[in-house]
Amino acid sequence: MGKEELTAQETALYDRQIRIWGVDAQRRLSKSHILVAGMTGTIVEFCKNIVLAGIGSVVLLDDRLVTREALSVNFLVPNDEEKLKGRSLAEVCCNSLKDFNSMVHVSVEKGDLSALDGEILDKFDAVVIGRASFATKKTIDGICRKRSKKIAFFTVDCRDSCGEIFVDLQNYVYNQKKNDDNVECQFHYPSLEEAVAVPWNRLPKNVTKLYFAMRVIERFEAAEGRIPGETTAADISSVQQLRGELCKANSINESRIPDELLKRLLEGTREHPPVCAIVGGILGQEVIKALSGKGNPLKNFFFFDAKDGKGIIEDISSL
């Protein structure tokens, strides 16, 4: 990292945030490159946040066409039929996102997320995945962990008025301020695969029910070969059955995963905009921390439920 100073334009634009994390962190941010897959409402909020913050570049991946639903949760999609004709979500969002900060390079990558290999991923310092199948997420996380370059991995998913963030920073070393000293701390993050494999009865008793509920839905979608998010109220009985099997296998009581919560997640597949803002904000902050190297990173799950209003961090690891 050279000793180049920020330009006058950067200093003026980023003044208020430089006062939080300093010039060095800002510089590191401006040299960082991110891949973002799946332009959900939450992901769009996240993109807005990191573009405003002055990330180096963002590559968007989502070949899906724009739908009515997208219009209702995605503020990057303009309300203009002409502009949307024949263009993918990624293309439309890319156009809008560029406007937010001319110093950030925003572009589109076409194709399937699951088809990406290590060489392509090496271009990035972080990969952030919106809704995707568990298999895909697991695969990408696995590739990231195998590269010699450190690639941070994040997933985010919001359903009904709930949201979940997963963070994998592999072996993360950072400086923490303890009293007046700078202490070097190290976090060992489990992979996504490792984390969800931790037997449920080994987790602390107060782990939020949302964690378990999301795992049940995840398994259900995988077992049924569903596109992520394509569930309905009618699925409840199958899901309850799956819940029973999983709880038995993990030796916990079924009552830890209430029917009411499962129903909400099955029915509420469309995101709720204020929840997108909240979860997209937390995710944005985590990615900024990881890429700038400044600030205590979250380990390793974050949950939010507007129903009780709590934003909770859960450490799901086998330690």
Partner: protein, 609 residues
């Protein structure tokens, strides 16, 4: 009424570079309509305290969401919402911290039930004679020196500008800040420098008493700092005709390019002289009417340099321009992410209000370091504070010297500042002793002007110990009574205002709180001295406790443990939003989070943006 600035663009994403200078309200409206065309938005580019925004105006709404950046306006809106009976969702952020609170008349605390700290002030002598922190030097440079040299010369100013120089007996009463006819800018600059950093310090040192228990300052004269002639010569920009005043910069013309660097004493001195010179040569028209503006590069450079030389004199560490600007400009750090989180939470509360889901209102706190695993902590709102002078009309007591204190001081320091009244009407019984307003008759205005300059006991309707004054504001529909108690003496350091207002806070809040932040420079009237400045190392501390029986005073509703799971009607967009409490206390995974308001264990210093 704000316009868009470049520094807003890192988070206020409805705005673009091309909008800088335009009305925030108008541009925001247009930006939103682009992605949500069919909604009704009206933009008012105006001050929310304007008389058009009266109770009837507020009554039009089902809910009010505040995004204000100063305490004064928030209190004003709070009172109007109380008067109109409209729920208010308040919020604020500072860096990684933020909170959202809901205020419903009669059901929850109002915004002022828990007093918010008013911006910090410093004792005059600390600023003029015995600074110990860098912020004192900034206040000196900004409110004394800068004001004296570039501001309204007729204003009272504590800076000593007289020289009791024996060799110049005819100029004994000369105001040194005035440029002499035959004097060029360089000479003038050096003369000012030597006077405020050299002569004034020597003068202060001659009073041994002051320095008995304090470190003595060192006088600084230009010849010692910049000994070589020509060292203070102007930089390279000099001959260019710079029409763009905002790009005028002393530091740049001296080759000092990095605002994050801390300059040496010599460099600061050069910046001081160069900035002064540039003001005189390129901005003569501004001189005499300038007030400090954090976005005015040259002003910031001058104040930084002046504060640093003074700091050097008093053995206080010097600071960079970047840091100085933050302190002098009361700059609050801010990022898009926290703002997004808080915005989302605001909407969630607003939806609850619109659905009349009274039991589900929450105050939510966003913290940087998780407390009990939580980054977002919801808390049930408290019931109204029965001692709140705003929503419960509790009377206050003012201890003041009724023989010496003028009515004007009561109006400025107490009524406007502490009580947040906008258009005060002060009565003694049925006698009006003061009013403000556009529709007053001339003789009334004259009468009130006379009253302002009288000591309380000398008023036509004498105010003495035992008098009860009534303070009102019709627009805010605010009324409050103040019991006056006479007291002879006040401590200069602990009670710098010379009066004490009681009943404003529960006793424990009387310890001075170190907070002051508003994005705009805070609202003290020009004759107030010194003005307010932020202390940059303040932080929010929220202590969360769970034992409800430790609450002193206010009864609070705790969350019910029974599960209420009524059918949730779907909104228009097919979204399920809980409109019921649901399960909040589930035993193991949902602990009730509860905040103490009135107990000595809690220290809650909140920064509001």
């Amino acid at each position: 009424m704000d316009t868009i600035e470049v520094s807003n663009l890192n988070r206020q994403f409805l705005f673009r570079q091309c909008h800088v200078g335009q009305s925030k309200a108008k541009v925001a409206r247009e930006a939103v309509l682009k992605f949500r065309p069919n909604i009704n938005i009206t933009a008012h580019h105006a001050n929310v305290k304007n008389s058009e925004f009266n109770v009837d105006f507020f009554k039009q709404f089902n809910v009010v969401l505040n995004g204000l950046d100063n305490l004064d306006a928030r209190r004003h809106v709070n009172r109007l919402c109380l008067a109109a009976g409209v729920p208010l969702v308040e919020s604020g952020t500072t860096g990684f911290l933020g909170q959202v609170t809901v205020h419903v008349k009669g059901q929850t605390e109002c915004y002022e039930c828990q007093p918010k700290p008013t911006p910090k002030t410093y004792p005059v002598c600390t600023i003029t004679s015995t600074p110990t922190k860098f912020v004192h030097c900034i206040v000196w440079a900004k409110d004394l020196l800068f004001a004296k040299l570039f501001g309204d010369r007729t204003q009272d100013n504590d800076l000593n500008v007289h020289s009791a120089d024996a060799t110049n007996s005819s100029k004994n009463n000369e105001d040194i800040s005035v440029q002499r006819d035959d004097e060029d800018c360089e000479k003038y600059g050096k003369r000012i420098y030597d006077h405020v950093f050299g002569y004034n310090i020597d003068l202060a040192l001659s009073n041994e008493e002051t320095w008995k228990n304090r470190n003595k300052p060192k006088p600084i004269y230009i010849k010692d700092v910049l000994p070589e002639p020509g060292m203070h010569q102007n930089g390279t920009n000099n001959t260019l005709d710079i029409t763009d005043k905002s790009s005028l910069s002393a530091m740049h013309s001296l080759g000092l390019m990095n605002p994050q660097d801390t300059w040496t004493l010599a460099e600061n001195s050069k910046v001081f002289l160069e900035a002064l010179s540039l003001f005189l040569k390129k901005r003569e028209k501004d001189i005499g009417s300038l007030s400090f503006d954090k976005d005015d590069q040259l002003s910031v450079e001058f104040v930084t340099a002046a504060a640093n030389v003074r700091a050097a004199s008093f053995g206080i560490p010097m600071h960079s321009l970047f840091e100085s600007k933050g302190i002098a400009g009361n700059i609050v750090h801010a990022i898009a992410t926290t703002n997004a989180v808080i915005a989302g939470l605001i909407v969630i509360e607003a939806i609850k209000v619109l659905k009349n889901a009274a039991n589900s209102f929450r105050m939510t706190y966003c913290v940087e370091h998780p407390l009990k695993k939580m980054l977002l902590m919801p808390v049930e709102p408290f019931e109204p504070n029965k001692s709140c002078y705003v929503c419960s009309e509790m009377p206050l007591t003012l201890e003041v010297n009724t023989h010496k204190t003028k009515l004007r001081e009561i109006v400025e320091k107490i009524v406007k500042n502490k009580l947040g009244v906008n258009l005060p009407i002060i009565m003694h019984g049925s006698t009006l002793i003061f009013e403000t307003g556009d529709d007053l008759e001339e003789d009334m205005v004259a009468n009130y002007a006379l009253n302002l300059e009288k000591a309380l006991c000398d008023l036509p309707s004498p105010v003495t110990s035992g008098t009860v004054l009534t303070v009102e504001d019709f627009q805010q529909e605010f009324t409050c009574s103040i019991n006056i108690t006479h007291r002879e003496e006040f401590d200069d350091e602990k009670e710098p205002e010379g009066m004490v207002l009681l009943g404003l806070t529960p006793d424990l809040y009387e310890k001075p709180s170190k907070v002051a932040t508003t994005e705009e420079s805070t609202s003290m009237a020009p004759q107030e001295k010194p003005a307010t400045v932020s202390d940059s190392d303040d932080e929010i501390e929220i202590v969360v406790l769970e034992e409800s029986n430790r609450f002193a005073g206010s009864k609070r509703k705790l969350v019910e443990t029974s599960i209420t799971n009524s059918h949730d009607p779907k909104g228009k967009d097919g979204i399920n939003v809980a409109n019921d409490v649901g399960k909040l206390d589930d035993g193991h995974d949902d602990e009730v989070v509860v905040m103490k308001a009135c107990n000595e264990d809690v220290r809650k210093k909140a920064k509001l943006v």
